[in-house]
């Protein structure tokens, strides 16, 4: 069970996370997202083996975002009712404002944790395979996505290499930002032209391997739904219910 989140069916995980996020979107009090966030973290500790160093590194930008949300909500909040609890120069912060600000910040953190949990426990290939096997994604699209994914490191390298190859051929380095932005075009067009070629050849190769786009009758890598999935789904829903009902048990 220590790796349950890694082992569970990616499509189920995907749907579960989507449901959780949509539910959260209806709440504007600080406690609901906070409790939910806490719950997610507890589940993550119990059922995954994510390296926390990595987690913190990825979470860092979201903490920054959350702070941004916090103060913009304070300043630009619509609802300014309630008693003033804090006064700075001429700005009066009311209770409603503070609540909204905290709520949105915690929401950012809760969403980010959920997403990050998905990203760090899901194997991309298994995810696509599962979308095809469980959610009946068309094989044409599923394998189209796989091709793109498989080319990712190549295209990433190319991004750097085209720039360097152009330098090698004597294209000057642009100094200011606008020139660099226009220079982006001279890298992007060969990139895209290369992508068109690659796409065509990869599609030819797929056809040449007998790919017709019809559904397959058997899979080499079978992805199934099992007991683990039910348990995890149940636990997440429990956390969801607990956080939405916090009014009753938090007092």
């Amino acid at each position: 069970m220590r790796k349950a989140l890694h082992n569970m069916n990616p499509s189920v995980k995907f749907l579960l996370i989507t449901v959780c996020m949509f539910t959260m979107a209806f709440y504007f009090d600080p406690w609901t997202p906070l409790v939910f966030w806490g719950g997610v973290l507890v589940l993550q500790i119990l059922f995954s083996q994510i390296s926390w160093k990595k987690w913190l590194l990825f979470m860092l930008p979201f903490f920054v975002t959350a702070i941004g949300y916090f103060w913009t909500t304070l300043v630009f909040s619509e609802d300014q009712s309630g008693p003033v609890i804090w006064s700075l120069w001429n700005v009066n912060i009311t209770e409603a404002q503070l609540n909204h600000a905290m709520s949105l910040s915690f929401r950012v953190l809760a969403f980010s944790s959920l997403s990050l949990m998905f990203a760090l426990t899901t194997n991309p290939v298994t995810f696509v395979m599962s979308l095809m096997q469980q959610l009946k994604l068309s094989p044409k699209i599923a394998y189209g996505i796989m091709v793109g994914y498989q080319f990712l490191p190549v295209l990433k390298d190319e991004f750097v290499q085209i720039g360097q190859a152009h330098r090698l051929r004597g294209v000057g380095l642009e100094k200011n930002a606008i020139q660099r932005l226009l220079g982006m075009r001279s890298v992007l067009i060969p990139m895209l032209a290369g992508a068109v070629r690659k796409a065509e050849r990869a599609a030819f190769a797929m056809e040449a391997r007998g790919f017709t786009g019809e559904r397959r009758s058997s899979y080499f890598q079978v992805i199934s739904i099992g007991k683990v999935d039910f348990i995890i789904v149940a636990l997440f829903l429990l956390v969801l219910v607990l956080s939405c009902t916090n009014k009753f048990w938090l007092g």
């Binding site: 498989q150 190319e158 190859a165 051929r169 004597g170 690659k198 190769a205 058997s218």
Partner: protein, 456 residues
């Protein structure tokens, strides 16, 4: 015997082009035949192959007249992908003919397409990997393999379908000579065992020996005189000095130096790190150590990402050389000089990159497999051009698997194995040292063999 592939009065041209690439072509191929299609670079061999497995004209809006029959039925009557498990193809470009990440997934993808039951997949995958001697690559990430390795994987993917016809587009052009020889041997055995029909495109027939029953020449190429060994043009002054070049994780620390006017061939087995070394020298990949000077010319193994402009002529003229026209015509590029560099044949693309570098007036030029996919005339022009430039003091590092070409051209030889430079050798010492050659998957060139025979 019945016709498997039958072309009757086939003409074909690409959209937007006035020139017919194929004109009134008729031929047929019978079951179990071994046929080679020959013709100079850019004459339409690859195009012909695409017509033979139904990828064209469906996928390119090209204009086709005449009839192409596959297994006795008009090719257009099949849906995309339907005929392809009976006619398997290995494409010319090793970089872009895969759609999954690892070798195993790619093979499994192929089997799933054929609706092979799951229980059978495992055995078929291990069988084909054993057969092609690729078991060690089973879990390898395809895009991280070398050009030659990818080419072999592509063949395995074609063979796992147990096709009736195998179409091969220059299947050994990126293989080292030893591997190429073995490739031909097992293809031979396999063909006898399975009675496949084999249609291959090939410029260099010597490695194939008597493999083919007959050839279909698309255009009768002009006969070209065999290459003569060049005299060395070494000068005293050093030109390229590489000091402690190292690129993680594969390339070990490498140092060597070259003199002005020196032509050196960099050789070694597939995956030994030749391309990696050249990229490190040009600082295209992160590496430590230093290279003097830093302004180098470079023709990559896949030349496409060098291209900057909209026409072959502009591309070649880009560096501001004044002999553009001469080089264009010498490298047989006049006929496509207005075409976009992305829309020419494989061999032509390679020559465009070579021409661009030669025109730039660089003192040091690194070329990664400039010989692959070139016909005899282009090869001999390339040889002359390199010779002339070396005489005027330029330095060349050339990666090639073509032993004849290397033999005629090289002053010195850099040998690589497993990411490590074995050393820099005098060319003559290498050609005579059979164990050294074999260690690096090379074969003695015919020039040497003939020479030895005459003394035997």
């Amino acid at each position: 015997m019945h016709d498997i592939i039958q072309f009757t009065d086939v003409s074909f041209r690409y959209p937007d082009e006035d020139k017919w690439i194929l004109k009134d072509l008729s031929f047929s191929i019978q079951n179990g035949e071994r046929v080679v299609i020959t013709g100079p670079s850019g004459c339409g061999k690859t195009t012909l192959l695409y017509l033979g497995n139904r990828l064209y004209p469906d996928n390119c809006d090209g204009i086709l007249t005449g009839s192409v029959k596959l297994f006795g039925k008009e090719s257009t009557s099949y849906i995309p992908g339907e005929i392809n498990h009976r006619i398997a193809t290995v494409f010319q470009d090793p970089d872009a003919q895969f759609c999954m990440q690892t070798v195993e997934e790619e093979l499994a993808f192929t089997l799933e397409n054929l609706h092979v039951p799951r229980e059978e997949m495992e055995t078929r995958i291990s069988e084909i990997l054993t057969l092609t001697d690729l078991s060690e690559f089973r879990h390898a990430t395809i895009q991280k393999l070398s050009g030659g390795q990818k080419q072999r994987i592509a063949t395995a993917c074609a063979l796992i379908m147990e096709p009736e016809v195998l179409l091969l587009d220059e299947p050994i052009s990126h293989l080292d000579p030893y591997t190429a020889k073995k490739y031909v041997e097992w293809l031979n055995q396999l063909q006898q065992k399975r009675q496949m029909t084999i249609v291959a495109i090939e410029h260099r027939l010597d490695l194939w020996e008597n493999f083919f029953d007959r050839s279909i020449p698309l255009i009768q190429g002009e006969p070209s005189s065999p290459l003569e060994r060049r005299k060395n043009s070494l000068r005293e002054d050093a030109s390229l000095v590489a000091n402690k070049i190292k690129a993680k994780p594969f390339l070990k620390e490498t140092s060597f130096s070259l003199k002005q006017g020196e032509v050196t061939v960099l050789a070694g087995p597939n995956g030994s790190g030749k391309s990696t070394l050249l990229k490190a020298l040009c600082q295209l990949i992160p590496s430590s150590g230093n290279v003097e000077p830093s302004f180098l010319g470079y023709v990559p193994q896949s030349p496409e990402f060098l291209f900057l402009t909209k026409s072959v002529r502009d591309e070649v003229a880009y560096g501001g050389g004044n002999n553009t026209e001469e080089i264009l015509s010498r490298l047989q590029l006049q006929s496509v000089s207005e075409a976009h560099p992305f829309a020419v044949s494989h061999g032509q693309k390679r020559r465009v990159a070579i021409a661009a570098m030669l025109c730039d007036g660089r003192e040091i030029i690194l070329m990664d497999e400039p010989t692959s996919g070139q016909d005899a005339i282009a090869l001999s022009e390339l040889f002359q051009l390199i010779d002339e430039r070396a005489r005027s003091g330029s330095t060349f590092v050339i990666v090639t698997h073509d032993m004849e070409f290397a033999y005629c051209l090289a002053d010195s030889i850099l040998l690589m194995n497993d990411g490590r430079l074995t050393g820099k050798f005098d060319a003559d010492d290498v050609w005579k040292n059979e164990s050294l050659l074999l260690d690096h998957h090379l074969l003695p060139p015919k020039g040497v063999l003939n020479y030895e025979k005459s003394f035997a």
